[in-house]
């Protein structure tokens, strides 16, 4: 019998680059992003920051959707909750350093995810979707209907101070054109760390067990894995990473409103995952950039941004089965290793009680 940790020694997780070339391509993207603000206008620098924050949320959710086969509509709430924690800790005029706000925001998001996850993971499939959605909206109504966080209008907050080793970087001391840079580079670093952290996790035994759960939960249970705990752990980790993304949003925008907590945020993140490609972790990043670019193009081209977005989403779901990252593998000469492409074509069997795919392996 092959032990999962043995497999882990041998091959990369199917959602990660399968070759050194893939990693080099990712590094090249990071390199481009690192020098981008030098040539882009402040507006586009801000837009890319937004895309990177979206990518972080999508990456967090991808741990559940792509790696575990759970579709949660509640993680937008943890994202928004974290942003509101920053507001509650450091309202306008009373900033706190990032090394205080970031762990706090992630901790609160993690606790919320633990509570919601423990309850909603008692259910499966559609039930799980609906329950995560309902709990997520509960957080939305807390901020929407009470005065806790400025009510429906939202509120300004003091952006967390970027502080390390006793040095504080104050964006206001920079020239006007460069004021968005600190947030941009913090977001870039956080994005890279999030990706690498998730990559490490996916390649570990933990990630392999999640993969097993995605393919056939009952088999994993029969093998003696505490399936529920693994799913809950993934749910909480995704919640904390969503919180980190929400914290980054507060640092970037300095403003919170109930929209951040709404389930539409979760749906947007899911859309980024789908646009980028469900089979690849980096797809979440590609999808986030595509989504932000789509919104921007729709805004420029027409008054009816949502209509364009809706139609493009429809088209993407119907036509783009494997997302942007899947386009390459369908071109001749660029076929991926057989195993992973077979998985992509079949599609994840998700939560089916008996899985034909698994049985036929």
């Amino acid at each position: 019998m092959m032990r999962p940790d043995r497999i882990a020694d041998r091959t990369a997780h199917r959602m990660l680059p399968q070759s050194a070339a893939g990693w080099l391509a990712l590094a090249a993207v990071v390199g481009v992003l690192a020098v981008l603000p030098l040539s882009a206008t402040p507006y586009y620098t801000g837009l890319v920051t937004t895309a990177m924050i979206g990518a972080m949320l999508a990456l967090a959710l991808h741990l559940l959707v792509g790696a575990t086969g759970l579709v949660s509509l509640g993680h937008g709430a943890f994202y928004g909750l974290a942003a509101y924690i920053v507001y509650l800790m450091s309202p306008e005029g009373a900033p706190r350093p990032i090394w205080v706000t970031l762990p706090s925001a992630m901790l609160v998001a993690g606790i919320a995810a633990l509570l919601v996850g423990a309850l909603s993971l008692r259910t499966k499939g559609f039930f799980f979707l609906m329950v995560t959605l309902a709990f997520g909206q509960m957080f939305f109504f807390v901020f929407h209907d009470t005065k806790l966080g400025g009510g429906t209008d939202g509120a300004y907050l003091a952006k967390p101070l970027i502080q390390a080793f006793g040095l504080t970087l104050d964006p206001k001391e920079l020239p006007r054109a460069q004021r968005g840079w600190p947030a941009y580079y913090v977001a870039l670093v956080q994005l890279v760390v999030t990706y690498l952290g998730l990559a490490f996790l996916l390649n570990s035994l933990f990630g392999r067990v999640l993969e097993g759960i995605k393919v056939n939960e009952h088999r994993m249970e029969a093998m003696g894995f505490a399936v529920h705990r693994y799913k809950l752990a993934a749910f909480v980790i995704a919640g904390m990473l969503s919180g980190a993304a929400g914290h980054m949003w507060s640092l970037h925008s300095g403003f919170v409103n109930p929209e951040l907590v709404s389930w539409h945020k979760s749906a947007e993140a899911l859309l980024m995952i789908l646009l980028g490609g469900i089979g690849s972790l980096a797809g979440a990043i590609a999808g986030a950039f595509a989504y932000v670019a789509l919104g921007e193009a729709a805004q420029l081209a027409t008054e009816r941004k949502l209509l364009v977005e809706g139609v493009v989403i429809l088209a993407a779901v119907i036509l783009l089965r494997n997302g942007i990252m899947g386009i390459g593998s369908s071109l001749p000469g660029m076929a991926e290793p057989k195993e992973s492409s077979a998985l992509e074509i079949d599609g994840p069997p998700s939560q089916q009680e008996t899985s034909v795919h698994a049985a036929s392996e």
Binding site: V71, L119, T123, L274, I278, R304, L306, G310, I313
Partner: protein, 299 residues
Amino acid sequence: MSGFLSQLLNGLQYGLLLFLIASGLTLIFGVLGIINLAHGSLFMIGAYLAFLVTKATGSLWFALPVGIGAGLVIGAVLERVLFRYFYDREHLDQVLVTFALILIFEEMRSLVVGNDFYSVPVPAALDFSIPITAGFSYAAYRFFVIGACLVLAAALITWIERTNMGAVIRAAAEKPEMVDILGLDARRVHLTVFAVGTALAVTAGGLAAPLTSVYPNMGDGMLIISFVVVVIGGLGSVSGAFFAALLIGLIDTLGKAYGQAFAGSGLGNIIAACASMAVYILMVIVLLFRPAGLFGRRA
């Protein structure tokens, strides 16, 4: 006392409207295996349709039959053109397609009617109050809504429990492959269920329009609360949805009406907050003890 009676009736009426929405949701899920996040938007469409027809004809009486008819047509078209391709697709795809529909419906609403709030007048024939006790009377239109919802609920449940078509629908929910094996027309079942479910949501919107007025994104809140109803009632169970909808309508209305009375002190604020969250607390309790819902059979 009369205040309490009025809240009780409000809760009943809200719960019955919720049933119209949630029953469609649960029926469509049970038979077609699809989750329709745009179901709340159908409620919104119904309300705006009632507003437009009332404005054009001067009376809500025309709006209600138009709503039912339009709901059936919209449902049938959506099923034929879009949803039938998604029965076997993954949850993620279904979620995103229906999310896209929400965006499209809202933007079309914005195109046609704009983004303002509008009130819809109660029909003149029902624009009075019925005295119940010496000091208390209750709006006739609200009684009409209660009555109309009860009639629709009774018709729906009779249709499902007592007719041949209903038997096929129940069979399709229980064992979809049996419908094919027995040579029954699954396509027709799918089409009918989706059209009826849609018409119920659209009709609920029309009935609610004079009570709530019409406004952008009005379907979103209804969608979430309908999900709670379906989770509590048990996915796929129409009678479960009926009792859960009434329960939630009453708890939500009474909680919001009386919870605020406690606000002020520290503990009081917590009670008030819990009262406004009562629906979610109920959902937590159900999930802890009956994860399949109160009336659900499958785990």
